[in-house]
């Protein structure tokens, strides 16, 4: 078993696992593996960052009725559909979107679900502020919004006090794909970072920006590792 240092002077150690581009199913299986290890205390809090191939995922409250196109259309467009255990309705992931999956033991974070979700939203708001974009929460509407347009989605599942799923921020997404669903069961307009700022951020820059915003909110010092290093506890 591993011997992760629990904390240092400058915060609790958390690991960033950058996955680059990966299909939804592969990342989901990876999340479940790491969730089991986190429950056992074999790995520290870990944040996966990924860009997915196009996929619609339907949450526990979701329904295929909010999918507005036929399965044939989806096949033609190369878009997969998965039903997943997170809260919320249907959502889209695809190229040009940064997704973070923090696998966090909430017993080390006040066991507070609402605060956890708020901190995920605040991560996005703080990063966007650094990019010159004013974003906010809207009462009763989860996620992060710029005016009345949604820029980031949040959905979380907690088992044995350890989180799965997380947040998805639109950097430059295919709006035609988004138009195929009724996101979260509501007719809402989505927006990408590219629509709002002149500078073209790379997805790597966005991941780095989000992690910088996230670290102080969660009291983390974030270090980057591969899954092998993480699981073998080498670092």
């Amino acid at each position: 078993m591993t011997s992760w240092p629990k904390s240092t002077e400058d915060g609790t150690r958390a690991v960033h696992l950058p996955l680059g581009r990966e299909a939804y199913r592969a990342t989901h299986e990876r999340q479940l593996r790491l969730h089991a290890l986190r429950v056992q205390g074999a790995v520290p809090d870990t944040i996966l960052s990924v860009e997915h191939d196009p996929v619609f995922t339907i949450g526990r409250r979701g329904s295929r009725e909010n999918l507005l196109v036929s399965l044939d259309t989806l096949r033609h467009e190369g878009i997969a559909v998965y039903e997943v255990e997170r809260g919320g309705d249907i959502t889209y992931h695809g190229p040009g979107q940064v997704v973070l999956y923090p696998i966090v033991d909430l017993r080390g974070h006040s066991r507070d679900l609402a605060r956890y979700v708020r901190n995920l939203e605040q991560t996005v708001i703080a990063f966007l502020a650094s990019a010159g974009v004013t974003a906010q929460r809207r009462p009763g509407l989860p996620g992060v919004w710029v005016g009345e347009r949604k820029i980031a989605a949040v959905g979380v599942h907690v088992r044995r006090w350890v989180t799965l799923h997380g947040l998805a921020l639109n950097v430059r997404v295919n709006k035609e794909h988004f138009a195929m669903i009724n996101p979260c069961g509501m007719r809402i307009e989505v927006v990408s970072l590219d629509d709002l700022v002149a500078r073209r951020y790379s997805l790597g820059e966005v991941v780095a920006g989000l992690l910088s915003a996230m670290a102080p909110l969660f009291g983390w010092r974030i270090v980057e590792h591969s899954e092998e290093e993480l699981v073998e506890g080498r670092p």
């Binding site: 526990r60 409250r61 255990e85 809260g87 507070d112 679900l113 609402a114 956890y116 979380v156």
Partner: protein, 75 residues
């Protein structure tokens, strides 16, 4: 006998019972997943506090619950 109560989830207010994985009369092991509740955008799984028989479900699927509400009884 043990009561299955909604744990303190922090500032989270009311939750909705999404699904029971077990039915009344089912045998359960300690730590086995009993039910899932949902708050805004978050789902949370509650486990059996002890081994025994799930004798009574007091908050069926679709009902709302708050911190410390008794959800079920395991005898």
């Amino acid at each position: 006998m043990a009561e299955v109560r909604l744990p303190d989830l922090g500032e989270t207010g009311e939750v909705t019972i999404v699904e029971w994985f077990k039915r009344e009369g089912d045998a359960v092991r300690v730590g086995e997943e009993l039910l899932e509740v949902e708050t805004e955008k978050t789902t949370f799984v509650i486990e059996a506090p002890q081994a025994g028989c799930l004798t009574r479900i007091l908050k069926p699927q679709g009902e709302r619950a708050r911190f410390d509400d008794v959800l079920a009884q395991v005898d």
